[in-house]
């Protein structure tokens, strides 16, 4: 399979709702998604065997995304560096445990760094800026035109993801952001947002399903 650029069409939902009939975003994939996924799996297999060059390549492919997530959660570059170091050592030691059946390597790496950053926040009894009421809104305001997804998916797809996330209903988006970036449990989110637990669960579920459906074929 060729690793070169590949063109495809994705329904484009501009700010404000569903994609108008016949309106598509013209995307140029920087790399083939399946090849990228296969490459990550191969790299993790090599890392498990002690291959440092594979580890370096895996770092180059995912460090920016992971550092961006850690920085957002911790709001502190030095702590984000520490977390990234710990997580990459964790990847070095546990790469053999990665199961491609339950997700992409990038998702796995993202959740590893998210969990470690959240642990750091809980240990220091601090909360990131996003844990605050206003912080959540800022997290999705996307003031920075370039997101961490650009490293992984390229400019066009990152913009598409940005727009799809931005079009989520605010209550769903807020619940998802609080869960992911602040490390709050469903009960804590329920209390923080002063909403019934069932409502929070439903919002999170519906929001993720919407993202999944609208980004089908992109991620």
């Amino acid at each position: 399979m060729s690793g070169g650029a590949q063109t495809h069409f994705v329904p484009f939902a501009p700010f404000g709702g569903a994609a108008p009939a016949g309106q598509y975003l013209f995307l140029t994939k920087p790399v083939n998604e399946q090849e990228a996924k296969d490459r990550d799996i191969e790299l993790l297999r090599q890392i498990a065997a002690g291959d440092r060059s594979a580890f370096a390549e895996f770092y180059d492919r995912h460090a920016t995304l992971m550092f961006s997530i850690a920085s957002k959660i911790l709001n502190d570059s030095a702590e984000a560096e520490d977390v990234l170091q710990v997580v990459f050592l964790q990847i070095w030691e546990t790469a053999g445990k990665f199961d491609p059946a339950v997700g992409k390597a990038s998702s796995w790496a993202a959740i590893l760094v998210r969990n470690k950053a959240i642990d750091r926040v809980r240990a220091s009894q601090r909360r990131s800026r996003l844990a605050e009421e206003s912080g959540v809104e800022q997290a999705i305001a996307a003031e920075d035109p370039e997101s961490a997804n650009e490293t992984l998916y390229g400019h066009d797809k990152a913009r598409l993801i940005q727009s799809v996330v931005g079009e989520l209903p605010t209550d769903q988006r807020r619940a998802i952001e609080l869960a992911y970036f602040s490390g709050l449990t469903q009960d804590e989110i329920s209390k923080k947002l002063n909403e019934p637990l069932g409502t929070i669960k439903a919002r999170i579920r519906r929001g993720l399903l919407k993202l999944r459906d609208q980004l089908e074929g992109v991620l």
């Binding site: 002690g50 370096a56 995304l65 961006s68 560096e81 170091q85 998802i176 999170i204 579920r205």
Partner: protein, 264 residues
């Protein structure tokens, strides 16, 4: 079939919003349900897309080097590290080794100095000997010339006598013997001067074993001597020559313990 409750649990799972107990229970269910695994994989990609929607922050370059430096293949790198890890005793061993080396070198240096000094003296002695032998050679050349004039060279026996005295290593002599005429010439150098009641006595060992008296001789102030001699008895084969120190006038049989020079 994944029901709505399981979908909610899956969504909370990929966002990390389950309590530890809930997460453990869901993980057990997930491990046994391939359909749920596929569902979670797709939902996890959506969650990762949200995570990656944060502003891009590039890690500092030195972080990469720091992380890579901390990992090492255990099968390849750890063994050499253990092998070459400096032990507590290594510096002391090196210091002790250097000290021993210094001592050995000092001893060798002293020995070399002594050797050089001894060799210098030896060279000086040999130079003096060469000078003496040069004079002796001149005498011998004159003797050979005289013998040649008498056409007796074909019957000439030439022998070199070396010192047997450790205190007089430079003493040397040459003896020429004309078997047909039963006479010879003896030239010596560096013999010590004897007291008035002592003489040097020359011996010709007939067939190499039987000493035959060839007369006594004296040395000049330089320890040199040149004499023409005849034996007291006929010599069949002049195998060897020897010089002994004897009482004045000589003796009938050589005193072996007083042998000064002898040829091979």
């Amino acid at each position: 079939m994944i029901d709505e409750r399981m979908e909610e649990q899956a969504a909370l799972h990929v966002l990390g919003a389950l309590t530890p107990a809930e997460s453990a229970e869901f993980s057990r269910t997930l491990a046994a349900n391939p359909e749920l695994q596929r569902y979670v994989a797709r939902l996890g990609a959506a969650a990762a897309a949200v995570a990656g929607n944060v502003p891009r922050r590039t890690p500092p370059p030195q972080l990469r080097a720091r992380i890579l430096a901390q990992v090492a293949p255990p099968k390849v790198v750890s063994l050499p590290q253990r092998r070459f890890r400096p032990s507590f005793w290594l510096p002391w061993s090196l210091a002790a080794g250097l000290a021993v080396l210094c001592i050995v070198l000092n001893v060798q240096e002293a020995q070399l100095r002594l050797t050089i000094l001894g060799q210098s003296r030896r060279i000086s002695d040999l130079q003096q000997l060469a000078d003496s032998l040069s004079s002796t050679t001149n005498d011998l050349q004159r003797a050979v010339l005289a013998l040649q004039q008498n056409n007796r060279l074909a019957n000439l026996k030439i022998a070199m006598l070396n010192s047997l005295l450790t205190e007089a290593p430079r003493t040397v002599a040459v003896s020429l013997w004309d078997e047909s005429r039963q006479e010879g010439v003896f030239v010596a150098a560096n013999l010590k001067t004897l007291p008035p009641d002592r003489d040097y006595q020359l011996w010709v060992l007939d067939n190499g074993t039987t000493p035959v008296d060839a007369g006594v001789f004296h040395v000049n102030e330089n320890g040199g001597s040149r004499v023409e001699f005849k034996t007291k008895q006929p010599i069949k084969v002049a195998g060897r020559f020897a010089v002994t120190e004897e009482v004045k006038g000589g003796v009938v049989s050589p005193t072996i313990k007083n042998m000064v020079l002898a040829s091979n």
